[in-house]
Subunit: 392 residues, 4 copies
C-alpha cells in the first residue's frame, strides 16, 4: 500500500471512530448491553463493507495483510475508543487467538474455528491465568490435560478469561507433560464452550462492574472436560513457546491502543481547560501548573509513540528476535505513560473528571490493568535487565 | 479522658470496624442498598448504645466532646472502612454541617435542624459547587438568593452535592450581596428538600456508579425556591468565611480517614504478598521490589500521620490560625500519600487488585477524588506558597 | 554518504573516543590543564587528518556537510566523553557561533572570524546571559550598544559566557534599538577580546571549580567598549531572531550529547554491578532493585534517543518550523532522562559513585545544568503548552 | 532543662550559626584550609565558653546531657551550615566514636582517647568500609586482626575513612573470629595513627575535591600493624553489634542535620525568588510553578522533621528497640526529602544555583551521599520491609 493511500485509510478509520463509535460509548458507560451490542454489530458491517476489517490478519483469512508499522498506526487510531478495536475486528483476545491459530493450527481447527473467528462470526477466549497461582510465573500452572483414548481430559480453574461470556470456544493452557522441564510442561487445547465439562463460574466484578459479553472477564472451570485429540494446537509441550509468541504481536497493538487512549485524553484535557473559566478573564488553560501537565503529557505520549513505532519497524525489518528488548521496554514504558496522562487529564478536569459524564474516569479505572496484564511492570523490568546484563 | 481510657475506646471502635462494619462492605461493592442501609442503621444503634456516637460534636448536642487529637485518631480507625464514619455518625457532609450550625445557627435552626441531624435522625447535604463554574475558585459562584417579603428567593444549579439523595435539608451557598467585595458576596441558607422549588436532577454517575442514598453525589437545581428569612445561617455575606471555617475541622477528619484507608491497604498488601506463592519455595513477600514498595508505603503513611497529628496538636493548643500552614500542607501531602499507597497495594496484588473481590479497587477509584475535593492539590500548593513567601 | 560508510565512520569516531579521548579524562578531573590542552590538540590534529573535523559545519568552511540525523548520531558517540565534542571541533559555543556566522555574517566577519574559528585555530564565546536579569526572559537584557561615529559603543555585564577564557572573540548580545518592540531591541556584535573595553572579571566557580580555558564559564564586562560598525552580525534588531535560530541546531547536538552521557553511564553501571560481589555467590547485578533501575534507565534512554532522532528526521525532511514542538519537547525530556540515568548510576555504585575515581560524579555535578541552560524545564514546558493549546 | 531555657539556648546556637559560622563557608567553598581551620577553632572556643559544647555527650565527659529530642533540635539548627556540627563538637565520626567509647571502652581507652576526643583536643576516624567489598553487606569484611603475644596484628585496606587526615586515632573494624557466625566475626580496635603499620594512601577525591583535614575521606592501609591487646573495644566478636548501636544515635543527628540543610535551602530559595525580577512587574515568586515547588518542599521538610522528632521521642520514652522501624524509615525518607529540596532550590535559582556563589551547589554535590552512607536507601527499605512483614 502506498503511504498516501494508507494515510487516507487511517483518516477513514479516524472518521469512523469519531462519528460512529464514540457516540456509542455512553451505552458502555451505562452498561446498556442490549442496545450496545447490536449497534456495534452494525458498525462492524460497515467496517467490513469499507474493507477495513481485521487489520491484524493475513489476507488468506480475510485480513488486511499489513506491516507491523501500519497495524500499529491503526491500533492507535482505533484505540481512541474502548469500542474501537472490537468494531474493526482486531480486539483482544480474538486477535491473538486468530494470529496463533493461523500459524499453528491443523486444518480441522482452521476450518472449524479460525475461519468463523476471523470473520467475526464467533468470539473466543484464552484461558491461561489461574486464581490460585501467580500470573507473573506461568510455570506454576496447575490445570491439567491428559490424553486418554484419543480424548483430552481437562481439569482446572482459570480466571481473567477475558470475554468468555458469549464466546464459542476457548484456548485452554494446561499441563500435559508433568515430567518435562518447566517450560515444556504445558500445551494449548481448543475447547468449544458448549462442552458439558466447562462451567462459567461468574463474570468477575472488575472496578465495580461484572460487564457482559465481550466486555467482561470470567472465572471458569473445567471438570473432567473431554475434547477430541485433534483439538491440540501445535505440538504437545509447546504451550509456553506459543504463549510467548502470541503475546508478541499483541504487544504492539496493546501499546498503540494505549497511545490512542492517551491521545484521546490529551485532547479532552486541552479542550476542557480552554473552555473552563477560572477567573472573569482567564481559563484553566492560562494556569502554568496546567500548562506543565499538558507539556509533560505531550512529551511522554510522543516519546512512547516514537519508541513503539521504532519497535514495529525493527520487527518488520529484522524480525521479532531483534526487537525483543524493545518489546519488553514498550510494555512498561507505555503503560506508565498511559497512567500518567490519564491521571493528569482527570486532575485537570477536577470533579468532572471523576464522573462518567466524560470517558476519562472509565480509562482511569479500566486501564489501571495496563501495568498488570501480560506481565506486571516489575517482571518486565527484571527480565529486560537480566537480558541486557548478559552483554556486559 | 485519660490516655488509657481513650486507648481502650479506640480499641473498641477498631473492633466494631473489623467485626461489624467491614463484613458489610460487600453490600456496598455490589450496590445492594436495600440490605446495606438497614444493616448500617443497626450498627449505628449499637454505636449509640456504646456511647461512641458523634465523636466530632460537642456534648451539648450529644457528641463526645473530644480534642482534635483524639478525634483524629478515631477518624483513622473508623476510616479503615468506607462505612466507618457513617456508622459513628461523623460522616461528611453532615459532620461539617452540624459543626457549622452549632456555631452559627439561630435557635430556630438549631432546634429544627441541628438536633435531629446530630442524633442521626435525619441527613443533610451542602450545595456549593456548581457545574458551570470552577470549584477551585468559589468566588465565581452564580447561584443567587434574594430577600423578598421576608423570604429568600433562591435560583441556581449545584452539583457534587454529596448525599443529597435522601437528605432532609441542604445548606445552599448563594450570592446575596452581588455588589459586595468578592469574598463577601455569598451567604448560607438552609433549604428543606421537600421544598417545591428544589429539584434533584440526578445522582451523578461517579467512577461507574450513581450510588444511592448517603453514598451518592447529586446534581440539583433551585428554581424560584422560597424559604423564610430565618433560614439564613449567620450573617449575610459571611458565606465564604463560614465555608472556610467549615472545611477546617473536616480537614483533620478527612486526612485521618485517608490514613485509615492507607493503613487498611497496607495490611491487605502485606497479607496478600505473604500468602502468594511465586515459586515453589517463596512468596511475593520475598521479592525485593515488593519489599521496597512496602517500606515506601509504610514510611509515607507514618510521615503523613505524624504530620496530621502534629497539626491537630497545634489546633488544640494554639488554635486554627496557628495551624493554617499545616492545614494546607496535610491536604495535598496526605492525598498524594493515599494515592501512592493504594496504587502500590493494587499493583502488588496483580489481577486480583483490579477486582471487587477486595476493597482495594474501590479505594483506587473512589478516593482518586481526594486530590480534588476541598480544593485540588494545585490550588492548595499555590495558596500555601503565597502565604509562606510573605515571610521573606 | 551511504549508510554503510556512515556507520563505518561512526565506528571510527567511537574508537577515537574510547581509545584516545577517554584516557585523558583523568586530566580533566584533576584540573591538570597544562597537560590536558596539548593532549587534546594532538587528538584534534588526528581528527582533521582522518577527515572527521567539524561534523556540524557545511563543506565550504571545512565541515562535513552532514544531515541533522547524521550529525545527531555523531553527537551521541562523541558525547560519551566531556572531551569528545571539543576534539571533533563541534563544541559549544563555537559550533553555534560558526553556524550562525555562516548564515548571517558579512564577508569581513566570515574571513576574519568564521574561517579560523571553523578550522579550530581560534576559539570564541557568546555573551548573552546577564547576572542581574533572569536568563529565562532575555527581553529583560540590559547591555547596550550605541552606534556613534561608525563605531559600536558597548556597555554591559554578562556571565556564564562559556569558554571566554582563552577565546579570541565573543558575540555580544546588546540592546541597540531601545524603542523597538521587545523582541526587536537587541543585536549581535562581534568583539575581539583583546579590546581594551572588554574585561574578564572572573571564571565563575561552578560546582566547586573555576575551570580554565575552554572548560570554564566567565563573568565579563564591557565598559565603553568600541568596535567598528561592520562587526554587526546580520541586521540591527535581529538579535533575538538569530539567538533563537542559533539554539535550534544546537538543541539536537545537546540532546544527543546527553544521550551519549547516559549511554556511557549505563555501561558503567552495568559493568560495575556485574563485578561487585554482594554475597559470596552473587553480585549487585542479581539484585532486583538494581535490575529495575537498569531497565528503567535503558527504556528512558531509548525513548529519548528515538524522539530526538525523529526530531532530526523532521528537520531534515520538513524544516525547523515543522519540528518546533519536537524541539521544545526534547529539551526537557532528555535533560530529565539524563539526570535520572546519572542518578541511578551513581546510586548503584554506592560510595564509589561519589568519588572522582569514575566519571559519574563529574556528570552528576556538571550536567545538572542541562535542566537550566538554554531555558529551564519550566519555561520550555509552558511555552510548548501554549503553542499546543492554540490548536484547541 | 525547662522548655523556655532550651528554646533560648537553641536561639543562641542559631545566632552563632548565622553570625559566626556561615560567614566562614566561603573559605570551605574555596578550599582555603589554612584560614578555615584556625577560624573554626576560634568559634569552638566561643562555643565552649558559652557552655554549648558537645550537645551529644553525657555530662561526665563534658557533654550537655541532653535528651534525644533536644539533641535533634540542636542538630537541625547547627546543620544549617556544613561547618556547624564541627563547631559544636558533635561532628561525625567523632560524635559516634565518643558515644561508643563512653559505653564500651575500658578505663585505659577512656582516659587516653575518649577524654581528649570529647574535649575536641584530638580528632578520630572510623575505618570500616573497604574498597573491595560491598559497604551494604559488612559481613563481607576482609580486614583481619590476630592476637599474637598480647598484641593485635592488623592487616587490611579501608576507604571512606572520613576525617582520617589529621586524626590522632582510628577505630578499625576487623575480623578477629574467622570461624564464628557471620555477625560475630568482627571486633573493634583502636589504632593510634602514628603507628608505623598504618599508612594513609590518599584523600579520595569526592565530587571534584580531595578536601583536607576534617573535611576529607581517606583510603588507608594497615600492614602488619601492631597495637596492644587492651586497644580492643568491648568484647571480641562484638564489632557488628557495636557498629549497629553506634549508628543509632547518629541517625537522629544525621537526619536532623539534613533537615537543617533543607531549611537553609528553603530560605535561600524563598529569598531568591522574591528578589528575582522576571518581568518588569513580577518576580519568580509570582510564578505558579515555583510556588508549587516551594509548597512541596515545605511539606516534605515538615513531614520529615515531624517524623524524626517522633522517633526521638520514642527513643527517649521507650528506648532504641521500640524505635527501630522509625529509625529505618527516617534514613531514606529524610535523605530523599533532602535531595528533592536541594534540587528544587537549585532549579529555582537557575544558573546561579550551579555556581559556588551560593552554598546550594555544595549541598547538591556533597549531600548526594546521604542516600548512600550508613546504608543505601535500597538496603534500608528491604530491611524495614522484612521486619514489618514478620507481623503478618
Amino acid at each position: 500500500m502506498t503511504q498516501s493511500s494508507f494515510d487516507e485509510m487511517l483518516e477513514r478509520i479516524d472518521a469512523i471512530v469519531k462519528n460512529q463509535i464514540i457516540p456509542l460509548e455512553t451505552l458502555l458507560l451505562t452498561q446498556q448491553w442490549d442496545q450496545l451490542y447490536p449497534a456495534l454489530d452494525e458498525i462492524r458491517q460497515n467496517v467490513k463493507a469499507a474493507n477495513l476489517w481485521a487489520p491484524n490478519l493475513p489476507a488468506d483469512v480475510g485480513g488486511m495483510n499489513l506491516s507491523t508499522v501500519e497495524l500499529g498506526q491503526i491500533a492507535e487510531v482505533s484505540g481512541q475508543s474502548p469500542l474501537g478495536h472490537y468494531c474493526l475486528g482486531c480486539q483482544a483476545p480474538d486477535a491473538g487467538n486468530a494470529e496463533l491459530l493461523h500459524i499453528y493450527a491443523n486444518d480441522f481447527i482452521k476450518s472449524h474455528f479460525l475461519l468463523p473467528l476471523a470473520q467475526g462470526e464467533i468470539r473466543s477466549c484464552f484461558a491461561m491465568t489461574e486464581p490460585a497461582t501467580a500470573g507473573s510465573n506461568p510455570t506454576l500452572l496447575e490445570a491439567t490435560a491428559e490424553l486418554i483414548d484419543d480424548q483430552w481430559l481437562i481439569n482446572g480453574r482459570k480466571w481473567f478469561t477475558t470475554a468468555a461470556d458469549g464466546s464459542q470456544f476457548t484456548i485452554v493452557m494446561a499441563v500435559t507433560e508433568p515430567d518435562a522441564p518447566k517450560h515444556q510442561k504445558a500445551s494449548m487445547i481448543i475447547v468449544p464452550l458448549d462442552n458439558p465439562g466447562y462451567r462459567m463460574i461468574r463474570n468477575i466484578p472488575v472496578m465495580g462492574h461484572e460487564g457482559k459479553g465481550y466486555y467482561s472477564h470470567s472465572e471458569v472451570e473445567f471438570v473432567n472436560c473431554k475434547v477430541p485429540a485433534n483439538h491440540l494446537i501445535g505440538q504437545r509441550g509447546q504451550g509456553f513457546k506459543m504463549a510467548q509468541q502470541r503475546l508478541g504481536p499483541g504487544r504492539i497493538q496493546h501499546c498503540m491502543r494505549w497511545i490512542g487512549i492517551a491521545r484521546r485524553c490529551f485532547e479532552i484535557m486541552c479542550k476542557h481547560v480552554k473552555n473552563r473559566p477560572i477567573t472573569g478573564t482567564s481559563t484553566l488553560a492560562d494556569q502554568a501548573v496546567i500548562q506543565s501537565k499538558i507539556a509533560e503529557s505531550y512529551a511522554a505520549m510522543n516519546a512512547s509513540r516514537t519508541l513503539v513505532m521504532e519497535t514495529a519497524k525493527i520487527i518488520d525489518e529484522a524480525g521479532w528476535a531483534a526487537a525483543r528488548h524493545h518489546i519488553s521496554m514498550i510494555k512498561f514504558e507505555c503503560a506508565n505513560m498511559l497512567q500518567s496522562v490519564v491521571d493528569n487529564t482527570l486532575q485537570s478536569m477536577g470533579a468532572l473528571g471523576m464522573t462518567d459524564d466524560s470517558i476519562v474516569a472509565f480509562f482511569y479505572r479500566e486501564e489501571r490493568a495496563a501495568r498488570i496484564y501480560d506481565g506486571p511492570d516489575e517482571v518486565h523490568k527484571i527480565s529486560l535487565a537480566k537480558s541486557l546484563l548478559k552483554q556486559f
